[in-house]
Symmetry: C2
Amino acid sequence: MLTYELEYSRTEPLYLQIYEYIRKDMESERIKAGEKLPSKRGLASQLGVIENAYHQLEAEGYIKAVQKKGWFAEKISISQKEREMPKQEFRETEEVKNPPEHMLFPFSVWAKIMREILASDQTRLMTRMPCEGAYELRSAIAEHLWNFRNMQVKPEQIIIGAGTEYLYMLLHLLLGESVFGVEEPGYSKISDIYTGLGLQCIRIPMQMDGINLNVLHNSETEIMHISPSHHFPTGTVTSIGKRYALLGWASEQDNRYIIEDDYDSEFRLSGKPIPSLFSLDVMDKVIYINTFSKTLTPTIRISYMILPFSLLDKFHQKLSRYACTVSNFEQYALVKFIKKGYFEKHLHRMRKYYKDRRNQLFSDMKLYKIFDGSVIMNENAGLHCLVKFQTELSDKALLKEVRKSGFQAAALYEYYHEKPEQDLHILLFYYY
Amino acid sequence: MLTYELEYSRTEPLYLQIYEYIRKDMESERIKAGEKLPSKRGLASQLGVIENAYHQLEAEGYIKAVQKKGWFAEKISISQKEREMPKQEFRETEEVKNPPEHMLFPFSVWAKIMREILASDQTRLMTRMPCEGAYELRSAIAEHLWNFRNMQVKPEQIIIGAGTEYLYMLLHLLLGESVFGVEEPGYSKISDIYTGLGLQCIRIPMQMDGINLNVLHNSETEIMHISPSHHFPTGTVTSIGKRYALLGWASEQDNRYIIEDDYDSEFRLSGKPIPSLFSLDVMDKVIYINTFSKTLTPTIRISYMILPFSLLDKFHQKLSRYACTVSNFEQYALVKFIKKGYFEKHLHRMRKYYKDRRNQLFSDMKLYKIFDGSVIMNENAGLHCLVKFQTELSDKALLKEVRKSGFQAAALYEYYHEKPEQDLHILLFYYY
């Protein structure tokens, strides 16, 4: 039986200490794959602490709960029995409304900061900045990522751009005529951009623990675009084993890279955010992308990417003449917004808002018969969850029925490029 | 002998009336190619008026001055004897500093407008806008173009983007895998972007009156990117004959378009701006591009393109899901800046500044022996002119000599992709 010494004096919460102990023991193989973990009760008396730690490890794919049996360590490698997501056929696409970020955005604080910037910083507002963006903003982002996402990044690696779509275009210029891999199902805009740029785009099917690595290995994919911390729309968190396998795949060839799309990591509603793939990468193979348009308001267009050191020289050679697409005004306003703690506060407020909305959604669901026997999946990360229904209805009819009851939902099949042939009975629900 | 009735009561200046009379007579062939025009004295007593009209016609390629002989009508068609620009060989590239726009930019006015926008328009600042940009801004630009550039454009045709580079990328997404033509010599950033996007890029040599149309016709070019009103770096104004021939070339095939890069039309220092190719186009073949980054400050990233009606449907189909890359704040600030007349005022101030700088530059030139016998070319459009030297020096030595005397200059050969084999003895001088 394992015993861990917990330090009450450390600033880290206890559950994080347990989480780290177990993770390290698994990585060093002190705990082996398949090994049963101590029951929560057995390990310590602080039940809540252990629960949190286990849920965190589970979210990251380290351990697995088996009903009535307890917790078991997972293999930290490519799972051989790859479980395909079901496939079916349907055509109707429905747009889901965007979240009302503007209602949550602290406009008066932002306006105050803008006024301060306008009053004091004329010279730097009128000075042309490097293509990567203002150094101050890149420093503020690096610090934020260190505090909030536990990522060690140098400001020099960060590139600012007016929206992630623009950053994808820059990456195309940087990486040239590569073959891109995208997730199936997935966010169709991403493949639309790559194919629009004339690039070959291969769809790699999702499984329960991340993309299908066999398909990836047998494809011509050079650049794999994924969202390992919270896949859209399935909400899948890529397991730790797959994460390492993905990094392994990328390191096999010089021209292979992974684009880690971390689009909603700030909205994890329980537990600590899943560690980024970027922070596991020691081979300089991961390009990390995130945006402020989702966390602030989409009417402010500021996104960023973090390049591995291996691509920095190439970036400067090829793209240093490009002008940064975000105006100085807004870059410096964001610096102040982050540095004064407003961004962190705002995120906290948004998370609380979405958590309340989620809980309300879940109690609303109990009022309708259609939800009887349904299972909620992946409800802790991001701004939506999946619900698997027990129903004879077609997905189309199911969606209609659910919307009739006032829910804002979308059918999972809509996000497949190749529509599944059978009904999935799975809908997406947004927390707004 | 031709006689024209001038109306003193019309709001148009007299020289513009004469200009329009002669232009129409040439287009209707009342004045035929090669015909001698009335001497300035013979036509009317207002010498200055005629002078202005003739210079405008000359700038646009309608007429030509022959020393000691007078003015002659030009052929309004493709010139058969195409005069190639000389070619030579050199390698040294030198960057020329950017103009000090921030010294001229009315920062306090802009800040005042920003404060007003922040104080009053919260809802529209927080409302997601269409990919094309704010309708109000597109209306303001359409009105400005009508007043200032004599262009009839509907706001629906205008697309706002964060810099022209981003707009080129959007055009690539819109037009797909086309073969692009660029001017040689030219602004290397443009061909860099297209080749960076993996597109085939054909260089079409410049002649004294615009690009070589024979080369264009014999090439695979589908999209020709040109700056007919003021070519960089030669300053060439594409003659009216070539303009029509270019439109004719584009109309021959469905997949052909012209991108008209009107990057510095606001800085024409004498005469009315050259009419845009877009406004001559009745076949829906010209895409017009311009930017506010040059006229305001490069730290505000707002550019726009005008699509012909034939491309609007395709744009909405392919690109309507893309987010506009310019923030609402700055779009609405620019609306107010244009509508309140500040933009026009600012342009006027900049033109005066550059005119003064140019005149100062020309008097400075007289002080140095190296300029003896040199000829200034294309000095009325844009922010630079060319000077052809009478010298035995190599271009490299010439540039060094001129810079030693304190001039900010660049050698013309630097802008050739394929460097000329002989010395050109032509340098560029900037008015700042």
